[in-house]
């Protein structure tokens, strides 16, 4: 143990080193024990979803061990992927997410560059304002937005509500403020000497952005892209409030509202669909974990 008091400090050195080593080993042991416990807690739901998705509906309702698959089958996946409806959800989700990512980057990268490098009147206030908007939750905005789009329909005659593309208008409100904020942080960390060198070589601001800032801050851009993608892929409130017809839904809402029909829960299929929906963010995370985590921590640590 580390209960080495000041009095003992003058004592034998080997003994002290031994006790520190022993306490290290003990700390390591307990760390692993608790990590295993928490890993079980954190991974139980996804694993159980996987187990269920591999069961036939007969096996799900049978009185057997729910945590084990006796006759694994892929019928739930096959059924979903051959079913037109699920593919429509998937397509809607992909189109919405990809477009939102593109819009987000087109808006937030130039804005972050201007706010971090081209000081102009009110730029500092605006940067703070961007951060504050990020703090306004979607749950505060969905009711007025719903009313605004209903009003716009009356004025313009265009039906906004119940079309999947309305999400392309709505999702940037979630992704742009945060992406701008972390890009400001990344751009601010680029040394000023680089700007000077570029200016001396006669580069304009646009060239400076595309030839220096974007390549140098690429890790930040990747992190922001991942964030924009996961946010628009996972959002549940906006599609639930703004889209209702089955062919206009995106994945999470589609699974919740159409696969659960009244009281009949086809759990195997629901779980298979859920995992297919969780797969893209998980794959992105598996391959780009460092960028993903950098983006998460940048929000509060940089800036």
């Amino acid at each position: 143990m580390t209960a080495v008091t000041a009095g003992e400090l003058g004592g034998l050195k080997p003994a002290r080193r031994g006790s520190i080593q022993k306490s290290r080993r003990q700390a390591l042991f307990w760390s692993y024990v608790f990590l295993v416990i928490f890993a079980i807690f954190f991974l139980t739901p996804p694993i159980y979803m996987l187990v269920t998705s591999l069961k036939s509906s007969g096996e799900i309702s049978a009185v057997t061990n729910p945590w084990w698959v006796y006759q694994p089958t892929l019928e739930n996946y096959v059924e979903l992927l051959t079913q037109n409806q699920f593919l429509v959800f998937f397509r809607n989700s992909v189109v919405v997410s990809v477009t939102v990512v593109a819009i987000t980057m087109l808006i937030s990268v130039p804005a972050a560059f201007a706010l971090s490098r081209m000081k102009f009147w009110g730029s500092a206030t605006l940067a703070t304002g961007v951060f504050l908007t990020y703090l306004i939750p979607e749950t505060l905005l969905f009711i007025p937005l719903f009313k605004i789009f209903a009003f716009l329909r009356d004025v313009t005659g265009i039906e906004f509500i119940n079309h999947w593309w309305i999400l392309i208008i709505l999702y940037p409100t979630l992704s742009v403020p945060f992406c701008t904020w972390i890009m400001i942080g990344y751009f601010a960390s680029i040394p000023k000497e680089l700007d000077e060198a570029a200016l001396i070589d006669g580069a304009g601001y646009i060239q400076m952005l595309t030839k220096i800032f974007i390549p140098v801050a690429l890790p930040g851009i990747i992190a922001a892209t991942i964030f924009a993608f996961t946010v628009s892929w996972a959002n549940f409130l906006y599609p639930l409030a703004f889209t209702t017809s089955a062919d206009q839904l995106v994945l999470p809402v589609g699974i919740v509202t159409t696969l659960i029909k009244g009281d009949v829960y086809n759990w195997g299929q629901i779980m298979a669909g859920s995992l297919l929906c969780a797969a893209p963010p998980l794959i992105v995370y598996a391959f780009l974990m460092d960028y993903y985590i950098a983006g998460l921590t940048a929000g509060a640590t940089k800036g």
Partner: protein, 309 residues
């Protein structure tokens, strides 16, 4: 300054003044053009709706008559409203507390093990945060299912009676908090882990030589060094948790008998499903005070950090 350096090279001395002005004008014009899409987006789709929501809250149900604070008066007289206030606070405070606690300890455990294993563990422990909340909540819903609950099956093996996870008000409250903690703790873990990495190792070595035990090291070194990041993360999470929608909506939809409603789900029920948009707007506005207070403190923390850096 970069601009001046460029000026000195590019512009002959005689015409410096006017072209400098031109340059400045051009620079700020470009900068403004670059931020314009951002400003339009924020003003049109965030700030305007936020204020519009305050206006909406003063209208009657058909939105034709101004009723002033009538909607609020109506809410204050309803017992359900006060229950929603109470439940939102219980939900947010206890969920954030346990998220912070679990995140802190898990971050410590990950930090203790050898560096080459940390990536693997961190990768595994982050999974709840990566899966879309709506999706993982469906998974939890299925784990809690009254007739096929996998938890109750396990408890049954130990001879414990089945637990009505979502059927009984108290258990349902416990369950929504549990799912929220499960989902949010990895975020705290990752933030604290980043903070722990930034504490200089020499401090711990010095403390170990001085004979500090693990608690003293935690209390006198780790916590003070992490104070800022802990505060920011907690406030951040408080806002997000207070405004949570997905988990409660999917797990219980507010039931049993409205006992698990939080502001967001109740506002959705009244405003979108119940077609009373002003009342829904009035309910969602109650998220503003906690939002404002947290935002002020977060901003202070972020500013302080910028000055330090």
């Amino acid at each position: 300054m970069a601009e001046l350096a460029a000026e000195a090279v590019r512009v002959p001395a005689g015409v410096r003044h006017t072209s400098l002005q031109k340059f400045m004008r051009r620079r700020s014009t470009i900068a403004f053009a670059m931020t314009l899409p951002l400003i339009v987006l924020i003003v049109a789709l965030v700030i305007y709706p936020a204020f519009y929501s305050m206006y909406l809250a003063t209208l009657n149900k058909s939105m034709q008559r101004f009723v002033g604070l009538g909607n609020f008066e109506f809410l204050f007289r309803r017992a359900t409203f006060w229950m929603v206030v109470k439940q939102s606070c219980i939900f947010a405070i206890s969920a954030v507390f346990f998220k912070a606690l679990i995140g802190f300890f898990v971050a410590h455990f990950v930090h203790t093990i050898p560096t080459k294993g940390q990536r693997k563990w961190r990768g595994m422990l982050m999974v709840p945060w990566v899966i879309p909340t709506a999706i993982s909540t469906i998974g939890w819903f299925w784990l809690f299912d009254p007739s096929y609950s996998a938890f109750n099956w396990l408890l049954g093996k130990f001879g414990v009676d089945p637990v009505p996870w979502l059927g009984h008000p108290l258990w349902a409250r416990f369950s929504v908090i549990l799912v929220n903690v499960w989902y949010g703790a990895p975020f705290f873990m990752i933030m604290y882990l980043a903070a722990l990495k930034s504490v200089p190792e020499q401090l711990y070595e010095a403390a170990a030589i001085d004979g500090a035990n693990w608690f003293q090291r935690l209390w006198y070194i780790t916590l003070p060094m992490m104070r800022n990041i802990i505060a920011i993360t907690v406030l951040f999470s408080l806002i997000v948790t207070f405004a949570n929608f997905d988990i409660v909506r999917i797990l219980t939809a507010g039931g049993p008998v409205d006992q698990t409603h939080v502001f967001a789900t109740w506002a959705f029920l009244l405003g979108i499903q119940g077609n009373d948009i002003p009342l829904g707007a009035a309910v969602s506005l109650f998220m503003l005070p906690i939002l404002g207070v947290s935002a002020i403190f977060i901003l202070r923390g972020v500013r302080r950090r910028t000055i330090e850096a």
